[in-house]
Amino acid sequence: MRVTKTLLLVFLISTLAILGVQHLNENKPLGISLMFFENGYAHFVAPSSMIVKMSCFSSNDEFFGINIMDPETGKKIRAIKGSGSAEEVFLLPHSGPYYISYEGVMPSCTLKVVKIYPSKKILELEYYIGTISALLLSLLIWREKNENNNC
């Protein structure tokens, strides 16, 4: 049936299109200033895995420490310490929410995105789905051609 072929083609082209969109958005200038809530946490949701630059300041050069946590695994992925100001570049390993807690004085922090790359898992999934639908589609077309020749 034509619908099956259309569906396979849809998966193939959409996957390619999404790969293209990911590539176009690699250098998108994103940023956010983090707000610490009453329970001492700030949080944000990342659209993809990416490299970020975090800059924090505290008044009067007082000491502060910051922990960035990953709720998926429950682990701490980065700790930043400083007095007055601190700046660090690091990698967010996957998309989704991240939590930030502080010790000492409450600093004011901003997050700037340096580069946005899809994580390995996502890329693998995209390649798998794209390849499988392309193979199935070619198989269907090949079979149909053979049937027509036999007639």
Binding site: R2, I18, F37, Y41, H43, P71, E72, G96
Partner: protein
């Protein structure tokens, strides 16, 4: 049996397959581009981290997606109903010993399958292509508070609304271009006039507010009027009209 043949025939229509393909791909591109924002807001409690994903899920239905939905649904139903009559192809289809309203209903059914899969399928595909690297949170965020159920129903409501109006205009309009123009007027006029309690603004606002799990049910109940009642009424009207109108 004969009905099944017609459904199969309609599903294999090459032009509508092409529109479905283009619509799906455009939807994926627009949804995926919408995702590239860092958001904050939602829950700060560590026990409900998955709720933060909802801020992304429920901001993805924008005016861009509505535009693509209107174009896709309108073209699909205008080509399935009106264009067929303009090119005289419909004469052979409606010569079958099946009531005209039944054929019209089958066309509606097939069109809703096309537009719904293009709309919701691309949404789901983009979510999977974005959040499948956090399987635990992704699963939680979709299942807790029946979130996936609400998303499925909301998308069905929107495509029912858009498609029933497209179906209606392609039944009443005298030719293809009139059907397209009328459809765009009906589907976009409330937006140009800025009427907040009519779709599409109604749907956009409702979807945004649905990230709050407490008022979610209430919002869904408010949508039933424009998501089910009005579409069914319009569908009924166009079925009656299709029985009256000659196929020429």
């Amino acid at each position: 049996m004969r009905l099944r043949t017609i459904i199969k025939w309609e599903l294999d229509d090459p032009i509508r397959n092409l529109i479905f393909l283009v619509g799906f791909v455009l939807f994926s591109i627009s949804f995926k581009s919408n995702i590239y924002n860092i958001s904050s807001g939602g829950s700060t409690s560590l026990n409900y981290t998955f709720q933060n994903l909802w801020t992304i899920y429920f901001t993805m239905f924008s005016s861009d997606s509505y535009l693509i939905l209107v174009l896709t649904s309108l073209l699909i139903s205008v080509i399935g109903i009106r264009y067929e009559r303009d090119t005289k192809f419909a004469l052979s289809l409606y010569a079958l010993p099946i009531k005209k309203w039944k054929i019209s209903l089958i066309k509606f059914f097939v069109d809703i399958i096309f537009s719904y899969i293009a709309f919701f399928g691309s949404y789901l595909l983009v979510l999977i292509y974005t959040f499948s690297d956090i399987p635990k949170l992704f699963k939680e965020s979709l299942t807790v508070n029946h979130t996936i159920f609400y998303i499925v129903t909301f998308f069905l409501f929107v495509s029912l609304y858009v498609l029933s109006i497209s179906h209606f205009v392609s039944t009443i309009a005298p030719n293809t271009f009139a059907a397209l123009l009328l459809g765009i007027v009906f589907l976009y006029l409330p937006r140009f006039l800025g009427l907040l309690d009519l779709p599409p603004y109604l749907f956009m606002q409702a979807f945004l507010h649905m990230r709050n799990p407490i008022i979610r049910k209430q919002i869904m109940e408010n949508l039933v009027l424009w998501g089910i009642f009005v579409p069914l009424l319009i569908l009924f009207a166009s079925l009656v009209l299709s029985e009256w109108r000659d196929v020429k």
